[in-house]
Protein backbone atom coordinates (compact mmCIF):
# COMPACT_ATOMS: atom_id res chain seq x y z
CA UNK A 1 0.00 0.00 0.00
CA UNK A 2 1.54 3.32 -0.99
CA UNK A 3 0.95 6.52 0.90
CA UNK A 4 -1.23 9.01 -0.87
CA UNK A 5 -0.93 12.77 -0.52
CA UNK A 6 -3.90 13.80 -2.62
CA UNK A 7 -6.08 16.36 -0.84
CA UNK A 8 -9.68 15.81 0.13
CA UNK A 9 -12.62 18.12 0.63
CA UNK A 10 -13.48 18.37 4.32
CA UNK A 11 -16.59 19.96 5.77
CA UNK A 12 -16.01 22.07 8.88
CA UNK A 13 -18.70 23.22 11.34
CA UNK A 14 -17.93 26.58 12.91
CA UNK A 15 -19.28 27.55 16.37
CA UNK A 16 -21.16 30.84 16.81
CA UNK A 17 -18.23 32.50 18.51
CA UNK A 18 -15.92 31.97 15.51
CA UNK A 19 -18.38 32.89 12.76
CA UNK A 20 -17.19 36.50 12.55
CA UNK A 21 -14.07 34.99 10.94
CA UNK A 22 -16.10 33.04 8.35
CA UNK A 23 -18.41 35.91 7.35
CA UNK A 24 -21.17 34.28 9.38
CA UNK A 25 -20.93 30.90 7.59
CA UNK A 26 -21.90 27.95 9.83
CA UNK A 27 -20.26 25.37 7.58
CA UNK A 28 -17.16 25.92 5.46
CA UNK A 29 -14.93 23.49 3.58
CA UNK A 30 -11.25 23.09 2.83
CA UNK A 31 -8.79 20.62 1.28
CA UNK A 32 -6.58 18.71 3.70
CA UNK A 33 -5.25 15.27 4.56
CA UNK A 34 -4.68 15.98 8.26
CA UNK A 35 -5.84 18.44 10.90
CA UNK A 36 -2.75 20.68 10.79
CA UNK A 37 -3.23 21.11 7.03
CA UNK A 38 -6.91 21.81 7.53
CA UNK A 39 -6.32 24.59 10.05
CA UNK A 40 -3.65 26.11 7.85
CA UNK A 41 -6.02 26.00 4.84
CA UNK A 42 -8.83 27.55 6.88
CA UNK A 43 -6.55 30.32 8.08
CA UNK A 44 -5.64 31.16 4.47
CA UNK A 45 -9.33 31.58 3.57
CA UNK A 46 -10.39 33.11 6.88
CA UNK A 47 -7.55 35.17 8.27
CA UNK A 48 -7.20 35.03 12.04
CA UNK A 49 -9.12 31.78 12.51
CA UNK A 50 -5.94 29.75 12.97
CA UNK A 51 -4.81 31.90 15.87
CA UNK A 52 -8.12 31.30 17.65
CA UNK A 53 -7.56 27.53 17.42
CA UNK A 54 -3.82 27.20 18.02
CA UNK A 55 -1.36 28.47 20.57
CA UNK A 56 2.37 27.78 20.24
CA UNK A 57 1.62 25.20 17.58
CA UNK A 58 -0.81 23.21 19.78
CA UNK A 59 -4.60 23.17 20.09
CA UNK A 60 -5.75 25.80 22.55
CA UNK A 61 -6.79 24.35 25.92
CA UNK A 62 -10.47 25.28 25.66
CA UNK A 63 -10.87 24.29 22.01
CA UNK A 64 -12.22 20.86 21.16
CA UNK A 65 -12.13 19.58 17.58
CA UNK A 66 -14.00 16.45 16.52
CA UNK A 67 -13.60 14.37 13.35
CA UNK A 68 -16.90 12.57 12.74
CA UNK A 69 -17.84 13.21 16.40
CA UNK A 70 -14.56 11.80 17.78
CA UNK A 71 -12.21 14.09 19.76
CA UNK A 72 -8.95 14.63 17.83
CA UNK A 73 -6.93 14.78 21.05
CA UNK A 74 -7.26 10.98 21.19
CA UNK A 75 -6.50 10.56 17.46
CA UNK A 76 -3.09 12.19 17.27
CA UNK A 77 -4.29 15.78 17.66
CA UNK A 78 -2.93 17.92 14.78
CA UNK A 79 -1.62 14.83 12.98
CA UNK A 80 -5.08 13.18 12.93
CA UNK A 81 -5.73 12.10 9.35
CA UNK A 82 -8.63 13.27 7.22
CA UNK A 83 -10.29 11.74 4.19
CA UNK A 84 -12.87 13.00 1.73
CA UNK A 85 -16.32 13.20 3.26
CA UNK A 86 -15.10 13.59 6.86
CA UNK A 87 -16.98 16.10 8.94
CA UNK A 88 -15.03 18.28 11.37
CA UNK A 89 -16.68 20.15 14.25
CA UNK A 90 -15.04 22.89 16.30
CA UNK A 91 -16.48 23.57 19.77
CA UNK A 92 -15.43 25.41 22.91
CA UNK A 93 -15.16 23.16 25.99
CA UNK A 94 -18.43 23.14 27.96
CA UNK A 95 -19.30 21.68 31.35
CA UNK A 96 -21.80 18.84 31.05
CA UNK A 97 -25.11 18.23 32.75
CA UNK A 98 -24.34 17.42 36.33
Amino acid sequence: MSATTSSSKIEVRIPTILRPFTNGEKVVSADATNLAELISALDKSYTGLGERLLENGELRRFINIYINDEDVRFMGSLTATLKAGDSVTILPAVAGGC
Binding site: P15, T16, I17, L18, R52, R60, R61, F62, I63, N64, Y66, D69, E70, D71, R73, F74, T89, L91, P92, A93, V94, A95, G96, G97, C98
Partner: protein
Protein backbone atom coordinates in the same frame (compact mmCIF):
# COMPACT_ATOMS: atom_id res chain seq x y z
CA UNK B 1 -29.12 -8.60 50.99
CA UNK B 2 -31.91 -6.21 50.15
CA UNK B 3 -32.60 -4.82 53.64
CA UNK B 4 -31.03 -1.45 54.47
CA UNK B 5 -30.86 0.68 57.62
CA UNK B 6 -31.97 3.80 55.71
CA UNK B 7 -32.63 5.12 52.23
CA UNK B 8 -29.07 6.45 51.95
CA UNK B 9 -27.67 3.05 52.88
CA UNK B 10 -29.31 1.56 49.79
CA UNK B 11 -26.93 3.55 47.55
CA UNK B 12 -25.27 1.72 44.66
CA UNK B 13 -25.22 -2.02 43.86
CA UNK B 14 -27.27 -1.15 40.80
CA UNK B 15 -28.06 -3.91 38.29
CA UNK B 16 -26.00 -4.51 35.15
CA UNK B 17 -28.52 -5.45 32.49
CA UNK B 18 -27.75 -7.28 29.25
CA UNK B 19 -29.12 -5.91 25.97
CA UNK B 20 -29.68 -9.08 23.90
CA UNK B 21 -31.73 -7.29 21.21
CA UNK B 22 -29.67 -4.10 20.82
CA UNK B 23 -26.28 -5.82 20.85
CA UNK B 24 -25.07 -6.18 17.25
CA UNK B 25 -24.94 -9.69 15.79
CA UNK B 26 -21.51 -11.10 15.08
CA UNK B 27 -20.84 -13.17 11.95
CA UNK B 28 -21.17 -16.94 12.32
CA UNK B 29 -18.12 -18.37 14.06
CA UNK B 30 -16.99 -14.96 15.38
CA UNK B 31 -17.06 -14.13 19.11
CA UNK B 32 -20.05 -12.23 20.52
CA UNK B 33 -20.15 -8.48 21.08
CA UNK B 34 -22.36 -7.78 24.07
CA UNK B 35 -23.72 -4.53 25.49
CA UNK B 36 -24.46 -4.15 29.22
CA UNK B 37 -26.36 -1.23 30.77
CA UNK B 38 -25.67 -0.21 34.38
CA UNK B 39 -28.97 1.17 35.56
CA UNK B 40 -28.05 4.06 37.82
CA UNK B 41 -31.64 5.22 38.05
CA UNK B 42 -31.96 2.50 40.73
CA UNK B 43 -30.33 4.79 43.28
CA UNK B 44 -32.10 6.57 46.20
CA UNK B 45 -33.16 9.68 44.23
CA UNK B 46 -32.99 8.07 40.80
CA UNK B 47 -29.62 9.02 39.38
CA UNK B 48 -25.91 8.21 39.46
CA UNK B 49 -25.40 11.53 41.25
CA UNK B 50 -26.47 9.99 44.56
CA UNK B 51 -23.03 8.40 44.65
CA UNK B 52 -21.29 11.76 44.18
CA UNK B 53 -23.54 13.63 46.60
CA UNK B 54 -23.27 11.15 49.47
CA UNK B 55 -19.50 10.80 49.01
CA UNK B 56 -18.97 14.58 49.01
CA UNK B 57 -21.14 15.16 52.10
CA UNK B 58 -19.59 12.23 54.00
CA UNK B 59 -16.13 13.58 53.20
CA UNK B 60 -17.03 17.13 54.25
CA UNK B 61 -18.46 15.86 57.56
CA UNK B 62 -15.40 13.69 58.19
CA UNK B 63 -12.98 16.56 57.58
CA UNK B 64 -15.01 18.98 59.69
CA UNK B 65 -15.83 21.26 56.76
CA UNK B 66 -19.55 20.60 57.17
CA UNK B 67 -21.00 21.42 60.60
CA UNK B 68 -24.61 20.74 61.76
CA UNK B 69 -27.09 23.18 60.23
CA UNK B 70 -24.60 24.49 57.64
CA UNK B 71 -25.58 25.82 54.21
CA UNK B 72 -24.31 23.86 51.18
CA UNK B 73 -23.84 25.56 47.80
CA UNK B 74 -23.54 23.70 44.48
CA UNK B 75 -23.63 24.49 40.74
CA UNK B 76 -25.81 21.83 39.09
CA UNK B 77 -28.04 21.27 36.11
CA UNK B 78 -30.30 19.07 38.23
CA UNK B 79 -29.30 15.57 39.25
CA UNK B 80 -26.53 16.46 41.71
CA UNK B 81 -28.80 19.10 43.21
CA UNK B 82 -31.64 16.62 43.61
CA UNK B 83 -29.33 14.10 45.33
CA UNK B 84 -27.84 16.76 47.60
CA UNK B 85 -31.31 18.11 48.40
CA UNK B 86 -32.54 14.75 49.66
CA UNK B 87 -29.45 14.10 51.79
CA UNK B 88 -29.32 17.68 53.09
CA UNK B 89 -32.98 17.38 54.11
CA UNK B 90 -32.41 14.11 55.95
CA UNK B 91 -29.21 15.24 57.66
CA UNK B 92 -30.35 18.77 58.51
CA UNK B 93 -28.44 21.04 56.14
CA UNK B 94 -29.66 23.92 53.96
CA UNK B 95 -28.97 23.66 50.23
CA UNK B 96 -28.61 26.36 47.59
CA UNK B 97 -28.32 25.21 43.96
CA UNK B 98 -27.11 27.36 41.09
CA UNK B 99 -28.86 26.00 38.02
CA UNK B 100 -29.09 27.19 34.39
CA UNK B 101 -32.57 28.61 33.75
CA UNK B 102 -33.04 26.43 30.64
CA UNK B 103 -33.36 23.06 32.38
CA UNK B 104 -36.56 20.99 32.49
CA UNK B 105 -39.33 22.01 34.90
CA UNK B 106 -39.26 18.69 36.76
CA UNK B 107 -35.81 19.46 38.09
CA UNK B 108 -36.99 22.65 39.76
CA UNK B 109 -40.00 20.82 41.18
CA UNK B 110 -37.87 18.03 42.65
CA UNK B 111 -35.33 20.43 44.15
CA UNK B 112 -38.03 22.51 45.80
CA UNK B 113 -39.82 19.41 47.01
CA UNK B 114 -36.77 18.52 49.14
CA UNK B 115 -36.45 22.11 50.32
CA UNK B 116 -33.55 23.37 48.20
CA UNK B 117 -33.29 27.02 47.24
CA UNK B 118 -32.52 27.68 43.58
CA UNK B 119 -30.53 30.53 42.11
CA UNK B 120 -30.86 30.56 38.32
CA UNK B 121 -27.92 31.38 36.08
CA UNK B 122 -28.45 32.73 32.53
CA UNK B 123 -29.22 30.11 29.84
CA UNK B 124 -26.48 31.44 27.57
CA UNK B 125 -23.33 29.82 28.87
CA UNK B 126 -25.11 26.73 30.21
CA UNK B 127 -23.39 24.81 33.00
CA UNK B 128 -20.21 26.88 32.57
CA UNK B 129 -22.14 29.93 33.69
CA UNK B 130 -23.68 28.08 36.66
CA UNK B 131 -20.18 27.08 37.76
CA UNK B 132 -18.95 30.66 37.42
CA UNK B 133 -21.87 32.11 39.40
CA UNK B 134 -21.48 29.48 42.12
CA UNK B 135 -17.76 30.24 42.46
CA UNK B 136 -18.58 33.95 42.87
CA UNK B 137 -21.21 33.19 45.52
CA UNK B 138 -18.76 30.92 47.35
CA UNK B 139 -16.24 33.80 47.47
CA UNK B 140 -18.87 36.20 48.82
CA UNK B 141 -20.29 33.81 51.42
CA UNK B 142 -17.41 32.21 53.27
CA UNK B 143 -19.70 30.41 55.72
CA UNK B 144 -21.42 28.46 52.93
CA UNK B 145 -19.90 25.06 52.21
CA UNK B 146 -18.94 24.75 48.56
CA UNK B 147 -18.69 21.02 47.76
CA UNK B 148 -17.95 21.65 44.06
CA UNK B 149 -18.51 18.36 42.22
CA UNK B 150 -16.25 19.40 39.30
CA UNK B 151 -13.14 19.57 41.48
CA UNK B 152 -13.95 17.45 44.55
CA UNK B 153 -11.86 14.25 44.65
CA UNK B 154 -14.63 12.59 46.71
CA UNK B 155 -16.68 12.57 43.49
CA UNK B 156 -14.03 10.53 41.65
CA UNK B 157 -13.53 8.30 44.70
CA UNK B 158 -17.24 7.46 44.83
CA UNK B 159 -16.84 5.81 41.43
CA UNK B 160 -13.41 4.33 42.16
CA UNK B 161 -14.80 2.67 45.29
CA UNK B 162 -18.34 1.99 44.06
CA UNK B 163 -19.27 2.07 40.38
CA UNK B 164 -15.98 0.58 39.13
CA UNK B 165 -15.78 -2.40 41.53
CA UNK B 166 -19.49 -3.17 41.05
CA UNK B 167 -19.07 -3.37 37.28
CA UNK B 168 -15.94 -5.48 37.48
CA UNK B 169 -17.55 -7.91 39.95
CA UNK B 170 -20.51 -8.35 37.61
CA UNK B 171 -18.52 -8.42 34.36
CA UNK B 172 -14.89 -9.56 34.84
CA UNK B 173 -14.63 -10.00 31.04
CA UNK B 174 -15.30 -6.29 30.40
CA UNK B 175 -13.37 -4.87 27.41
CA UNK B 176 -14.92 -1.38 27.11
CA UNK B 177 -16.41 1.06 29.60
CA UNK B 178 -18.52 3.92 28.22
CA UNK B 179 -19.83 6.80 30.32
CA UNK B 180 -20.84 10.42 30.05
CA UNK B 181 -18.40 13.28 30.48
CA UNK B 182 -19.78 15.98 32.78
CA UNK B 183 -17.83 16.50 35.97
CA UNK B 184 -15.75 13.57 34.60
CA UNK B 185 -16.01 11.86 38.04
CA UNK B 186 -17.55 8.62 36.71
CA UNK B 187 -14.99 8.15 33.96
CA UNK B 188 -12.02 9.14 36.12
CA UNK B 189 -13.00 6.97 39.11
CA UNK B 190 -14.52 3.89 37.53
CA UNK B 191 -12.10 4.20 34.58
CA UNK B 192 -9.02 4.16 36.85
CA UNK B 193 -10.34 1.19 38.83
CA UNK B 194 -11.21 -0.84 35.75
CA UNK B 195 -7.85 -0.16 34.12
CA UNK B 196 -6.05 -1.36 37.25
CA UNK B 197 -7.98 -4.62 36.87
CA UNK B 198 -7.54 -4.84 33.09
CA UNK B 199 -4.77 -2.67 31.58
CA UNK B 200 -6.13 -3.29 28.07
CA UNK B 201 -9.60 -1.94 28.75
CA UNK B 202 -10.87 0.93 26.59
CA UNK B 203 -12.34 3.83 28.59
CA UNK B 204 -14.67 5.78 26.34
CA UNK B 205 -16.19 9.20 27.00
CA UNK B 206 -19.43 10.41 25.46
CA UNK B 207 -20.25 14.06 25.97
CA UNK B 208 -23.55 15.59 25.03
CA UNK B 209 -23.31 18.28 22.36
CA UNK B 210 -25.59 21.13 23.29
CA UNK B 211 -27.22 23.68 21.03
CA UNK B 212 -26.28 27.14 19.91
CA UNK B 213 -27.35 28.73 23.19
CA UNK B 214 -24.59 27.05 25.14
CA UNK B 215 -21.89 27.37 22.50
CA UNK B 216 -22.58 31.05 21.92
CA UNK B 217 -20.13 31.89 24.67
CA UNK B 218 -18.58 35.31 24.82
CA UNK B 219 -15.10 34.04 24.11
CA UNK B 220 -13.23 30.79 23.82
CA UNK B 221 -11.35 31.40 27.04
CA UNK B 222 -14.69 31.02 28.84
CA UNK B 223 -14.42 27.31 28.03
CA UNK B 224 -14.33 24.96 30.98
CA UNK B 225 -12.39 21.79 31.76
CA UNK B 226 -13.28 20.27 35.17
CA UNK B 227 -10.38 20.10 37.65
CA UNK B 228 -11.03 16.35 38.07
CA UNK B 229 -10.38 15.64 34.37
CA UNK B 230 -7.27 13.62 33.53
CA UNK B 231 -7.11 12.88 29.79
CA UNK B 232 -4.70 9.96 30.35
CA UNK B 233 -7.55 7.86 31.79
CA UNK B 234 -9.55 8.12 28.57
CA UNK B 235 -8.97 6.10 25.40
CA UNK B 236 -11.44 7.82 23.07
CA UNK B 237 -13.89 10.68 23.39
CA UNK B 238 -17.05 11.35 21.39
CA UNK B 239 -19.30 14.40 21.15
CA UNK B 240 -22.89 13.29 20.51
CA UNK B 241 -25.57 15.59 19.14
CA UNK B 242 -29.18 15.85 20.30
CA UNK B 243 -30.53 13.99 17.26
CA UNK B 244 -28.43 10.86 17.83
CA UNK B 245 -29.09 10.96 21.58
CA UNK B 246 -32.86 11.13 21.16
CA UNK B 247 -32.79 8.35 18.54
CA UNK B 248 -30.90 6.05 20.92
CA UNK B 249 -33.13 6.88 23.90
CA UNK B 250 -36.10 5.72 21.82
CA UNK B 251 -34.27 2.59 20.66
CA UNK B 252 -33.41 1.67 24.23
CA UNK B 253 -37.07 2.14 25.17
CA UNK B 254 -38.60 0.35 22.20
CA UNK B 255 -36.12 -2.49 21.75
CA UNK B 256 -35.09 -3.30 25.32
CA UNK B 257 -37.85 -1.66 27.35
CA UNK B 258 -35.47 0.61 29.28
CA UNK B 259 -36.82 4.13 29.96
CA UNK B 260 -33.73 6.36 30.26
CA UNK B 261 -32.86 10.03 30.42
CA UNK B 262 -31.50 11.82 27.38
CA UNK B 263 -27.79 11.86 28.21
CA UNK B 264 -27.90 8.05 28.42
CA UNK B 265 -28.86 8.12 24.73
CA UNK B 266 -25.60 9.93 23.98
CA UNK B 267 -23.68 7.29 25.92
CA UNK B 268 -25.49 4.42 24.16
CA UNK B 269 -24.71 6.04 20.80
CA UNK B 270 -20.97 5.90 21.54
CA UNK B 271 -21.30 2.33 22.91
CA UNK B 272 -23.09 1.15 19.76
CA UNK B 273 -20.44 2.80 17.55
CA UNK B 274 -17.72 0.92 19.38
CA UNK B 275 -19.76 -2.31 19.28
CA UNK B 276 -20.08 -2.05 15.50
CA UNK B 277 -16.32 -1.55 15.14
CA UNK B 278 -15.75 -4.74 17.15
CA UNK B 279 -18.19 -6.71 14.99
CA UNK B 280 -16.54 -5.37 11.82
CA UNK B 281 -13.12 -6.37 13.18
CA UNK B 282 -14.43 -9.83 14.14
CA UNK B 283 -13.41 -9.46 17.78
CA UNK B 284 -15.50 -10.24 20.84
CA UNK B 285 -16.34 -7.52 23.35
CA UNK B 286 -18.16 -6.93 26.62
CA UNK B 287 -19.14 -3.27 26.59
CA UNK B 288 -20.58 -1.78 29.79
CA UNK B 289 -22.18 1.65 29.70
CA UNK B 290 -23.92 3.89 32.18
CA UNK B 291 -27.60 4.74 32.18
CA UNK B 292 -27.38 7.88 34.33
CA UNK B 293 -31.05 8.31 35.16
CA UNK B 294 -34.58 7.43 34.09
CA UNK B 295 -36.66 9.45 31.65
CA UNK B 296 -39.12 10.86 34.19
CA UNK B 297 -37.44 14.24 34.57
CA UNK B 298 -37.47 14.80 30.80
CA UNK B 299 -41.08 13.98 29.98
CA UNK B 300 -41.91 17.69 29.79
CA UNK B 301 -39.41 18.11 26.94
CA UNK B 302 -41.76 16.09 24.74
CA UNK B 303 -39.08 13.84 23.22
CA UNK B 304 -40.78 10.59 24.25
CA UNK B 305 -44.02 11.36 22.44
CA UNK B 306 -44.90 9.87 19.07
CA UNK B 307 -43.82 13.04 17.25
CA UNK B 308 -41.11 14.02 19.72
CA UNK B 309 -37.81 14.74 18.02
CA UNK B 310 -34.56 16.42 18.93
CA UNK B 311 -35.77 19.84 17.78
CA UNK B 312 -37.71 20.26 21.01
CA UNK B 313 -34.34 20.27 22.80
CA UNK B 314 -33.19 23.42 21.01
CA UNK B 315 -32.16 25.92 23.62
CA UNK B 316 -32.56 23.43 26.47
CA UNK B 317 -29.83 21.98 28.60
CA UNK B 318 -30.80 18.34 28.23
CA UNK B 319 -28.24 16.41 30.24
Amino acid sequence: MTRYESLEASLGHTPLIGLPRLSPKSEAGKPAVRLWAKLEDRNPTGSIKDRTAIAMIDDAERTGKLKPGATILEPTSGNTGISLAMIAKVRGYRLICVMPENTSVERTQLLEMWGAKIIYSPAAGGSNEAVRVAKELADENKDWVFLYQYGNPANTLAHYNGTGPEIFADLPTITHFVAGLGTTGTLMGAGKYLREKNPDIAIIAAEPRYGEVVYGLRNLDAGFVPELYDASVITRRFSVGAEDSVRRVKELLEVEGIFSGISSGAILHAALGVAKECVDAGVGADIAFIVCDGGWKYLSTGIYGKDGDSEVLDGQLWA
